[in-house]
């Protein structure tokens, strides 16, 4: 760096750097002029203290003490924010709702399965593509929401709501305080009874298909796919029964109902995934039927179309169930996380109170 003829030129360079980060207004020009005057006064004082004009390094020392131009500008300039504290809670809420509760479920539960199903063997590429699209969608949605709120902030729409007389909320209309719900005994008893009868019904199905097929059991029977999935479904029903019994026996385990429900839903979701993929995994582009004609009625013209209709109905029901299960799973996972967070916050609060008492 070349040596300066006049070391105080450094001050002008410094002020220029500060000015760069400030909005160009008359008010800021005044601040820069005052800062410049302050720095020159400091230099003068130092010179009279030392008894000689300051050299470059001594002036630089004063400027260094004053601070980095960008930081000084941030202190001098007006306090600016894209979204102010009054609007920020609503912004955060809207952002969370759109990103976590609309886009993520839409992509993971609806678009990802469709893309994967269409991709066939290249399901990995389809999944990666969907995740990439999800990232883009999250990014764009965040941008749009931020711009909208920034516009609201700039136009000061909220100012009107702060005006006296505008605010018409009544504290009496506030929702009651939510307490941690203990599992209802009556509900658990009903679930246990229903689960027990459902299990009995399920176990009887194998020998008595009319319990599910009704009069059609004369010419319809379960497809071979159920040889694998029937025991799994029975096992899931037994698990559900055990879960309800545990809720009844241990009502003090307040986290257990939700945690076990979530685990059960995860298992159910996995089984449904396997069931749907197994149904569509037959060779020759066909699929494994859920029901088929009993041997001997193959040629009957009146019954010929029934298995097709029943199979399509079962397939559609399973697909809808799969979607619903996926959404329920996400909702319950979020609720469980919230509950765990509340608990740890409460535990910390209690520990802190105990430590101080």
């Amino acid at each position: 760096m070349s040596k300066l003829k006049n070391p105080t030129e450094l001050v002008d360079r410094y002020l220029q750097a500060v000015r760069f980060w400030l909005p160009k207004t008359q008010r800021q020009e005044g601040l820069i002029a005052e800062l410049g005057e302050d720095l020159r006064s400091q230099i003068e004082d130092k010179e009279s203290e030392l008894g000689h004009p300051l050299d470059e390094s001594e002036v630089a020392e004063i400027l260094k003490r004053c601070g980095l131009p960008m930081i000084v500008a941030s202190r001098l300039g007006p306090k600016r924010h894209l979204i102010g504290p009054a609007l920020f809670p609503i912004y955060a809420f809207v952002l969370k709702m759109v990103l976590m509760w609309i886009l993520v479920p839409l992509f993971l539960v609806v678009l990802a399965p469709i893309n994967i199903a269409q991709a066939g063997a290249d399901w990995g590429g389809a999944l990666a593509g969907t995740l990439g699209e999800l990232c883009s969608a999250l990014f764009i949605a965040t941008g749009i929401i931020t711009v909208i709120f920034a516009v609201v902030e700039r136009t000061q729409v909220l100012e009107k709501t702060r005006a006296p007389g505008f605010v018409c909320w009544d504290p009496l209309n506030l929702p009651p305080v939510q307490k941690e719900r203990k599992p209802s005994t009556l509900q658990a008893v009903c679930e246990l009874a229903f689960g027990f009868f459902a299990l009995i019904w399920l176990l009887l199905l194998r020998q008595n298909p009319w319990l599910i097929l009704g009069p059609a059991a004369v010419f319809l029977k379960a497809g071979p796919i159920w040889h694998v999935f029937y025991p799994v479904i029975v096992a899931l029903s037994i698990l559900a029964l055990l879960r309800t019994a545990t809720i009844l026996a241990k009502p003090q385990w307040t986290l257990f109902p939700l945690a076990s429900l979530l685990s059960h839903e995860v298992l159910g979701f996995i089984v449904l995934c396997f069931l749907l993929s197994a149904a569509g995994a037959a060779p020759n582009g066909e699929w494994h039927p859920f029901v088929m004609l009993v041997q001997g009625v193959h040629d009957s013209a009146s019954h010929g179309k029934v298995p097709g209709i029943v199979n399509i109905s079962i397939l559609v029901s399973f697909v809808i169930w799969w979607f619903a299960q996926g959404i329920a799973l996400l909702v319950h996972a979020f609720q469980l996380l919230q509950r765990i967070r509340e608990r740890s916050a409460q535990a910390q609060q209690t520990a802190s109170v105990q430590a101080h008492s």
């Binding site: 601040l31 005057e37 302050d38 004053c66 000084v72 202190r75």
Partner: protein, 126 residues
Amino acid sequence: MYCTVCVVHYMSNGTHNGTEVFENLRLELRRGCLTLAVLIQLRSERYGYTLRKALADDGLEIDEGTLYPLLRRLESQGLLVSQWREEDKRNKRFYRLSPMGSEILEQLMSEWQSINASLGKILQEA
């Protein structure tokens, strides 16, 4: 060994947080006091640098980035009046209390004395 590292890490982290908390609280405490000190000093006319020096001489250091926006704010609130004037061949902005500023300063002083007295009482009791 692992435990020692963890404890040392926790302690250093705790100290760091403690320093940060102290610094934030110190700044909060200083903010109101600085406003009061600036208003008191500006009962007689001063420009920025001499004001900073006067405050520093009395033990209240204040940097340029804090003082000038504060002066602007107080002026926009009507507590100060300012004037650009040439002195020693340089343009300087001189500040002094406005009549409204003098009234508010009186009220703030009595508030300060009341807070000070209360704190002294609380400290004696503790």
